[in-house]
Symmetry: C2
């Protein structure tokens, strides 16, 4: 707007707002609020919202809050579709370049990705080899791998908290009527060699929930709502930094246009087809069977920084 | 963070997010979201939040949403204490400097201020001279003035939607048990000369609601929660731009440190003490009585811009 202003001090309240936060006892909170106020005011000045647009923003935030329950987190979903979750996650996952030798030996730590909105219930503890598919739908899949340190040592007793949508693309908490609680979830403990295995179904791409305000946003902007096929993991071991990540299926639709911007190329794997009748029988699977293999490399907690 | 990054493209998802909004059909929505994403990502990069801080932000927004009901708007309160409401309001209230002659003649339009979170119910229509104080508390006060145009013509039939906290600093909707609905509220219609008058109580400073997330924010930052004494108005007349504003009491505590940054000096008035027994009798008030006088000047709708 090129107009001269009747009272410029009154259209630039940012200094008054910053001053109001100047006595915040916690210096980190003061820093965050100072930056927030600067960006928020700059955003408003940039777009010069009408009062109706401001009200629409208030209404959108309110609806997003009201859509949040103990089983649904619409603000995390909003953070996800705006790329903020991945950005926050990446900022926390930044490290110096690994030493060339370690990188060549394949011992670089596994990258993390966003938690997502569906880790809202505890995963039931299960024994190695158990299935997390309680409904028998979809194509059976063996998921195997090992958990080790950046210096190549196995991590016996590492825990793997796993959650996954069913073959129709829904998590148990989204369908409390249709799915038993704990379907697609399991808490596993790696064996004495740091190895894990469990059965599931080949993951499928699926849309994030679109029946709330975030869905309205995607529709209004012509964006699709789909995530490529993946399995969530939180991998933890004594003395090591916990890893929150997702493993992606290489040939999944939307692998290049994830609605929540969370795909990292080093987390993408083929789901192999294994022709090994003995292994199939050992795992209680038909032959041939599908297998997804991924090794998790955790870094020592002391290298993780703050 | 000065570290080299393992994969710089993965810590700068902003371009992918901007690209995802590139096909938004509505160009205004596309512009708003583009600016939002740029500022939001820049904010995150600036502060480098920990995952715990990100989660705290999600929790704060969720609590704020859950605090919103049909009688309470915690997101407006948040917008208020961050100075955003006043900034949006001021951006929309900007005009070219008035012609010197009009300014000298006192015909500059009345400035607007924020709506605030308590205009959540309709004000009951009342006759000129009625009181909006249904509980008989506090010091009676006559509120009078006229509504006119920027060229000095009265606006007969202009409507004045009025709302005010009681003498304890609470709006009716905050105390549904203690106050009758409509206490402190009234919808008045100016007479044939554009004049209005109603009775109320002398407004008192009061804290904004501090029992929700916004109150937690104020406590954590050492800010007081008080607003100086004021009365809210929405003044409307055919062919004129509606005016949302507040009239402030000159000697009120917090007049220089409003928790929501909404005070404008030209909206501040003394509450006079009137020694006029005849006028007191005419208005049904004790003598002497208190009087707050304010004239509202509305601009034609066609000067209001977009």
């Amino acid at each position: 707007m090129a107009n001269d202003l009747t009272d410029p001090t009154e259209v630039a309240p940012v200094d008054a707002v910053l001053a109001s936060f100047a006595r915040t006892p916690d210096p980190r909170l003061r820093e965050i609020l100072t930056r927030l106020v600067r960006h928020l005011h700059a955003f408003v000045v940039d777009i010069e919202p009408t009062m109706a647009e401001w009200q629409a923003a208030i209404d959108f935030l309110t609806s997003t809050g009201h859509a949040c329950t103990d089983r649904r987190q619409e603000f995390i979903l909003l953070s996800d579709v705006l790329g903020v979750s991945t950005l926050v996650e990446s900022v926390n996952d930044r490290r110096p370049d690994p030493a060339p030798a370690a990188a060549a030996a394949g011992q670089d730590r596994t990258e993390s990705t966003v938690l997502g909105p569906f880790h809202v219930v505890s995963s039931p503890p299960r024994a190695l080899g158990d299935t997390i598919d309680l409904t028998g739908g979809g194509t059976p899949c063996l998921v195997t791998g090992e958990v080790r340190t950046t210096d190549g040592q196995p991590l016996p007793g590492a825990t793997l908290d796993v959650w996954q949508a069913d073959d129709q693309g829904f998590y148990d908490v989204q369908q409390p009527e249709e799915q038993p609680a704990g379907n697609g979830r399991g808490l596993f403990t790696a064996d004495a060699d740091g190895r894990f295995r469990f059965r599931s179904v080949v993951p499928r791409h699926y849309p994030i929930p679109t029946d709330g305000p975030v869905g309205d946003l995607l529709r209004a902007t012509g964006r699709h709502a789909n995530r490529p096929a993946h399995i969530h993991f939180i991998v933890a071991a004594e003395g090591h930094r916990s890893l929150t990540t997702q493993i992606y299926v290489a040939d999944s639709p939307y692998i290049d246009s994830d609605a929540v911007f969370a795909v990292k190329r080093r987390l993408v794997r083929e789901v192999e087809t294994v022709h090994d009748p003995a292994a199939a029988a050992r795992h209680g699977l038909p032959s041939p069977f599908r297998q997804l293999r991924f090794d998790f490399v955790l870094e020592p907690a002391e290298e993780a920084g703050a």
